[in-house]
């Protein structure tokens, strides 16, 4: 398994060739609390890095999920429709949100795990 990369909007991504598997971080799911609904983008949609393309709803509030990279949505995690609590249970595993096939180079502001953890600590 390749190393996870992170955004300051609390998404993670894992590259599988040209395709990035994307979800929200453990920190994000903890902050949100119990996830009750996930609104996923349409497969085939062309998205731009930084664009809000999904919504995650906890008991208390709704939050946007952003595309960390530019490309095309090639798959979404339909299992979250029936069991959104996977986002809490396995945020970087079975709780993934969508896959984006990258067009062009990845943004240069993606963080590695250490840098992301330092960023989260700086928010506290």
């Amino acid at each position: 398994m390749t190393e996870l990369k992170f955004t300051k909007d609390h998404e993670w991504l894992r590259m599988e060739g040209q395709v990035a598997v994307i979800g929200i971080t453990d920190h994000a799911q903890t902050a949100l609390g119990d996830v009750v609904f996930v609104d996923l983008p349409e497969v085939g949609r062309e998205v731009t890095a930084g664009e809000a393309i999904a919504v995650v709803e906890s008991v208390k509030a709704a939050s946007d999920v952003y595309a960390p990279i530019t490309g095309r949505v090639v798959e979404v995690n339909e299992a979250l429709t029936d069991d959104p609590s996977k986002v809490n249970a396995e945020p970087t595993g079975a709780g993934w949100f969508f896959k984006i096939e990258a067009s062009g180079a990845l943004p240069d502001d993606l963080l590695d795990a250490d840098a992301y953890n330092a960023f989260v600590d700086s928010l506290a």
Partner: protein
């Protein structure tokens, strides 16, 4: 975060920190929103066992003197004079236009009336009440008392009392003298406990030490009261909503509806006779997607109302909401669209409560 310096704390602030709570600003107070168990677990635990809430931000006061009940009745259509000693009642304070200034609890403690008002409204309510009092009646705010709510089906066996639903009495819990009422804001059986601030932490620790009692925050309190169909002032009620629109006519005394001798009576009477232009209703969205407060409600493309409270009901296992719709769309079963992120989410008007009340009547 700069304004956190100016937030008030309840007498249980130290205990909350020890329990690992997440705090949020609410009505000028730093209040627990959830403990490590999380809103869902706290909510479900309250429905299955017992949960302890710190609601010390709420305003407590006493009204003392000959004619206190009659004086208060100038501002509320609740029948306060008929309230027997040891009984509590839900009421509304109204403005001249029949709008709701606050919703509150009033209890007859024999020698005085005991009031509990919303935290966000106490600076409005107390001067308002003061302004109508005759010389013999005194309003005494009780800022030195904390308020705890112990809610859930296990409460009756954990803290046995002689109280029935909406009964109130001075009792002793864990050696501490309190004023307890059999009431709450969750739809469950339970107690609301007024305690001197300096003994609040000892009482809370004693209650949390009882088997199966879990601390719960404002997050669970909100989802519990929403499932129970209970209004949150500032969301579901404000100075523009009337008792008729809010579907709270039941809180008005029969005698008061004969005499029409309270502030705002004219508008309330007119709406009772002719119907209110809008009504508070329950709404059940299709599927799992919640519709939150301020979501627009449409019928056939026309805007007919707005959601005032909405979220996911953990016990219902589905999204639930309440809001105001134009009267022609208020009947149970009416199909409506909720506009969530520019998309129409189908929903139906549904009876409340969404979760049956389990009061000890």
């Amino acid at each position: 975060m700069a304004d956190s310096d100016t937030l008030l704390e309840t007498p249980l602030a130290a205990l909350h920190k020890e329990l690992g709570v997440r705090m949020v600003p609410f009505a000028g107070y730093s209040m627990p929103v959830q403990y490590p168990a999380g809103i869902m677990a706290e909510h479900l635990h309250c429905r299955s066992a017992a949960a302890l809430f710190d609601v010390s931000h709420m305003g407590q006061a006493e009204l003392v003197g000959e004619g206190a009940a009659a004086a208060l009745e100038q501002l509320t259509p609740a029948d306060v004079q008929a309230l027997k000693p040891g009984r509590q009642r839900y009421g509304l304070l109204l403005n001249e236009a029949g709008g709701i200034v606050d919703d509150f609890m009033v209890a007859n403690l024999g020698d005085r009336l005991f009031l509990v008002v919303n935290a966000s409204r106490k600076q409005v309510d107390l001067p308002l009440i003061e302004s109508v009092l005759p010389s013999g009646v005194k309003l005494r705010p009780l800022p030195d008392r904390a308020l705890l709510a112990l809610q859930g089906p296990a409460v009756a066996s954990l803290v046995p009392t002689d109280l029935t639903f909406m009964g109130i009495a001075p009792i002793t819990i864990a050696g501490i003298e309190v004023i307890a009422s059999r009431s709450g804001y969750t739809g469950e059986d339970g107690l609301e406990i007024s305690v001197p601030a300096e003994q609040a932490e000892a009482l809370a620790r004693a209650l949390l030490a009882m088997p199966g009692v879990m601390p719960a925050g404002l997050g669970a309190r909100d989802s519990l009261r929403l499932e129970a169909g209970l209004c949150l002032y500032g969301n579901d009620l404000d100075e523009t909503t009337t008792p008729v629109e809010a579907n709270l006519v039941w809180s008005m005394g029969k005698r008061r509806r004969m005499a029409w001798d309270f502030r705002g009576a004219e508008r309330v009477r007119e709406q009772l006779d002719n119907g209110a232009p809008r009504l508070r209703v329950g709404l059940r969205p299709e599927g799992r997607q919640p519709a939150r407060a301020h979501t627009q409600i449409r019928a056939g493309g026309e805007v007919v109302g707005e959601i005032t409270s909405g979220g996911f009901g953990p016990s219902v296992g589905a999204p639930v909401a309440m809001g105001y719709v134009a009267r022609p769309h208020a009947a149970d079963g009416t199909a409506l669209d909720l506009i969530v992120r520019d998309k129409a989410l189908p929903a139906r008007v549904a009876p409340m409560p969404f979760q049956p009340h389990r009061y000890a009547r």
